[in-house]
């Protein structure tokens, strides 16, 4: 370890995770084999809405290999917890209905679990499901969130009249009303942000293992939040003491929000392991088809937009009413997504002075809806970006010009957002930390040849194509969240949201970093290593990052909401600060100098003015860890933990531009260019940042063009397999053209903001803008997504007065 160790912070270092993944040595949940493993399968309701009259398990119990058949009445656990109510502690009523581990009296969506089989092999478990007889009394179903609130709609829950979970107002109702009264122009539009199935490539699964000797449980789960799941499963669901449970997330094959939550199967494998042979391991892995009904969906909003302003393009008011479909019962933080993470950021990057939103959370006979990549912010971005386009079109103003006119100016930060995040509760506010929106817009416009758009449209038209260019000038809120704000406002996990890191420098000088966050493909082992290598001056090869096991890592809230780089990395830096401080004090002891006279250059601790008097971190760690010669009051070992609470969220932004060509004859829509200028602050590893953007963009484009979860009126999921749900394929997408501006976040020492969701937040709105731009010459004002050939063809035919 010397001063010439290359500083890796900010470099596109190859990922340290990759060798195991590219050689087939990753270890995902279903790769784990334990001695005596048994297999669990879940019988799921074929009805969207039904009462359960009886369940006969007798035939299944005698099937080959069957060890146990479990129904809901057998399980003494509580329903799953709801951890993020709408409105937090504001007194808003949330009519809560949570899933039980297995349904007992009724089912509320196709796919809700009603019974389970544990058998020697997965095939035997599945075969035995067929022998369980459930007597259902089918009930009428309702799928659409708006219709579900109308008189006469089928009712799901006694405690939720008109299927309403909550009605949550936010913003200044009177001020917004006044703004609309004074407005020169008002534009209104109903838009649908349709339902999505997140589809990480690895489905979910769990393994439960009970040890009758210690009465301890080990639960492996494909999860983004092992510490939180241990807390929820013990304190709320099972009543098993928290210290008797260890949760491990092995390699996780993508998640995109789906693996944040507490699911019934997690408790079920714990229960089953104790039941079967007094502690045989029990594995459950969902099939993809099963996943479509048993793992959360995303989005599904119906929104009425009203935007008010002046003829010169100044927007003075935004009023929004949203019906948010939350499914048949609530997922862990379902109500938090369309409230805190949506309505509180509706005004985006614009200085709209008057904003008012009313969100109605609704039960329907569908799979529960919760956080999917972006979680509320893509929905908010879609609303405000469509609103800006519609307003611009109404007054005949250029879409880029209207954005420029209404941007929050760069000297207005920290900015107090009127739609709610800045609303003080007990003095606690969240501000938009920083921003400089116009340079990103200008850069993107130049790269996209925006000034030549008319020419490009004419050229395309000559080929029978309708060309459209779409803009999305988004902001995103990352780094959730200051615990003081959560405590005061009550929005968030119902718990603090700091992060944690422990660093140990062992006798050999090797560094082990354990983190409270849990990756699902983001490359945390690489980026944290880069941060610690920079902080301590040690080579990355001497650092290992461990995570995702409640035994051996400090409690942390996990990875979601693009919070790891801003909150997690800062925790790591704080731990490194403590390491350096102790090393400096011990170096002073070794060198017989005052700690104040020790300067730290990389891994070298030198006496100021006498550079030959120095010790390396490795030498210091060796002596300190042995502890033969410690100064009074100093503990042996170089081992420090930090818990870090962020003072504020971070706010990435940027401009995305999509260019589409629509075949006027067939409606086929082709994304021909995609450009993105993102400002995510400083970057720990630019290669990884770009990768996050690519993936996010593809998912957002997928929503705009192809993906849609479709239910029949009876509540059958028609897009129930990958053959019916159109995930983006390589040949449907172009390569993406990325650029950047860099406005460091003032919130954390690295100046980072977060990037996991930005692509998905911006891109749906950009593509929607492009398609609507392409169709505008036909007189089409707004078309809802996804823009499949059929949808676009029908719109074109209808506009031309033909069959629709």
């Amino acid at each position: 370890m010397a001063t010439d160790v290359q500083d890796v912070l900010g470099e596109s270092i190859k990922r340290v995770e990759d060798p195991r993944f590219i050689t087939g040595h990753g270890r995902y949940l279903d790769d784990i084999k334990l001695t005596g493993m048994t297999h669990l399968a879940i019988l799921r309701s074929p009805y969207a809405h039904a009462n359960i009259k009886s369940i006969d398990t007798s035939a299944a119990k005698s099937m080959p290999g069957v060890l146990a058949v479990i129904v809901g009445a057998d399980i003494p656990y509580n329903p799953l917890p709801m951890a993020w109510p709408a409105g937090g502690s504001s007194g808003i009523v949330n009519n809560v209905n949570m899933p039980r581990v297995l349904a007992t009296d009724s089912v509320k969506w196709t796919g809700e679990g009603v019974a389970a089989v544990v058998a020697e092999t997965p095939e035997q478990a599945i075969d035995a499901l067929e022998a369980i007889q459930v007597d259902y009394e089918p009930l009428p179903a309702v799928i659409d969130a708006e219709k579900a609130t109308q008189p006469g709609a089928p009712q799901l829950h006694e405690n939720a009249p008109n299927n309403v979970v909550f009605t949550w107002p936010v913003g200044d109702k009177d001020g917004t009303e006044a703004a609309f009264k004074d407005a020169e122009v008002i534009v209104k539009q109903r838009i649908v942000n349709h339902r999505l199935i997140p589809n990480p490539m690895e489905v979910r699964g769990d393994i439960g293992l009970y040890n009758p000797g210690t009465e301890e449980y080990t639960v492996w789960m494909s999860s983004q939040t092992p510490h939180i799941q241990r807390l929820l499963l013990t304190a709320f669901v099972t009543g098993i003491p928290e210290h008797k449970v260890r949760v491990i997330a092995p390699d996780v094959g993508g998640a995109f929000g789906t693996k944040i939550f507490c699911y019934a199967d997690m408790a079920l494998v714990m229960f089953a392991s104790k039941l079967v042979g007094g502690g045989r391991p029990v594995k459950w892995v969902e099939s993809r088809r099963e996943s479509y009904g048993s793992t959360i969906h995303g989005r599904d909003h119906i929104t009425y937009i009203e935007i008010a302003g002046k003829k010169d393009g100044e927007v003075t008011g935004l009023r929004v009413k949203t019906f948010a479909n939350l499914g048949g019962r609530l997922s862990t933080i379902g109500p938090g997504i369309p409230t805190t993470l949506y309505a509180r950021v509706l005004s985006g990057c614009y200085k709209i002075p008057n904003v008012y939103a009313e969100v109605t959370g609704v039960y329907t006979n569908t799979t529960f809806v919760d956080a999917y990549r972006g979680a509320g912010r893509p929905e908010a971005t879609y609303v405000v970006e469509r609103a800006m386009d519609l307003f611009a079109n109404e007054i005949g103003m250029d879409r880029a010009a209207i954005r420029r006119k209404n941007f929050i100016p760069p000297d207005a930060f920290p900015y107090d957002n009127p739609s709610g995040l800045g609303t003080a509760v007990n003095g606690e506010k969240i501000y938009i930390d920083s921003g400089n929106y116009e340079p990103a817009l200008n850069k993107a416009l130049i790269a996209a040849d925006y000034d030549d758009l008319a020419k490009a449209k004419a050229e395309a038209k000559s080929r029978g194509k309708l060309l459209g260019m779409g803009l999305s000038t988004y902001i995103e809120v990352c780094g959730v969240a200051p615990s003081k704000w959560i405590g005061a406002v009550g929005e968030g996990w119902g718990a603090a949201m700091w992060e944690s890191s422990n660093i140990k420098v062992h006798l050999t000088g090797k560094v082990i970093v354990t983190m409270g966050t849990s990756p699902q493909g983001q490359g945390h082992e690489t980026t944290y290593s880069q941060v610690i290598a920079h902080e301590l001056g040690v080579p990355m090869d001497d650092i290992v990052v461990q995570h995702s096991d409640t035994q051996g890592t400090p409690f942390g809230y996990g990875s979601y909401g693009s919070r790891t780089s801003s909150v997690g990395s800062t925790a790591a830096i704080k731990a490194a600060d403590k390491i350096r401080d102790k090393a400096r004090r011990y170096a002073a002891h070794m060198l017989e100098a005052s700690p104040d006279d020790i300067e730290v250059i990389g891994a070298e601790y030198r006496v100021k003015g006498s550079p030959e008097k120095k010790k390396t971190l490795q030498e210091i760690a060796f002596a300190l860890d042995l502890g033969f010669s410690l100064p009074t009051g100093m503990e042996p070992y170089l081992d420090e933990t930090a818990y870090y609470d962020t003072p504020n969220c971070t706010w990435p932004f940027g401009t995305h531009i999509a260019v589409v060509e629509i075949d006027e004859e067939t409606g086929d829509t082709d994304l021909i260019r995609y450009l993105a200028v993102d400002d995510v602050g400083k970057k720990i590893n630019p290669m990884i940042v770009d990768g996050q953007l690519h993936g996010g963009i593809a998912q957002g484009v997928g929503q705009a063009l192809w993906e849609q979860a479709v239910y029949s009126d009876e509540g059958q999921l028609l897009s129930g397999s990958m053959m019916d749900y159109a995930l983006p394929r390589a040949s449907w997408l172009p390569s993406f053209e990325l650029d950047e501006t860099v406005t460091p976040s003032p919130v954390n020492p690295l100046g980072v903001k977060g990037v996991g969701e930005a692509g998905a937040i911006a891109s749906t709105a950009a593509v929607a803008s492009a398609v609507n731009d392409a169709l505008a010459p036909l007189g089409i004002r707004h078309l809802d997504m996804p823009y499949t050939a059929q949808t676009v063809w029908r719109a074109i035919q209808s506009a031309k007065g033909g069959p629709a």
């Binding site: 087939g24 040595h25 990753g26 099939s287 990958m722 390589a730």
Partner: protein
Amino acid sequence: MTEHIALVVNGQPREGDVEPRRMLVQYLREDLELTGTHVGCDTSQCGACTVTVDGKAVKSCTMLAVQADGATVQTIEGMAGADGALHPLQQAFWEKHGLQCGFCTPGMIMAAADLLTRDTEPTDDEIRHAIEGNICRCTGYHNIVAAIREAASTMRAGATAPAAASTAVNA
């Protein structure tokens, strides 16, 4: 009831008794403990289970183990050299950040391996079509395409060097 099968997997002769309904992917993952080949769906759409059978990319969730009797199968575990040297595709996926969560990666690499045996200089469009049966949810395919392009280039350079040497010997 089981059937006896014998095949070559990653250069090793393997044999065993399998249920007729056992899929090749289950045989590889569970019987041979080659868990690098993944299962991502149940409709042969995602391609996470792609291996090569007699040199051709096959979704191993679609093929019965008994159908592989007598075949030569290669999985991701067999791609690196005996000395651990990475295959150019593995190296390029690493260099170009062609993976994030890694779950689709083995199948993606095997599909690409098939492509590069058929076409040593594919265009980006040809690469995108060749991996159309393999879904990646993390990367947006951008860096996967770049990785396959890079591997093709490396393999062409590798192919010309020994070829030139052997020509010289023959001359």
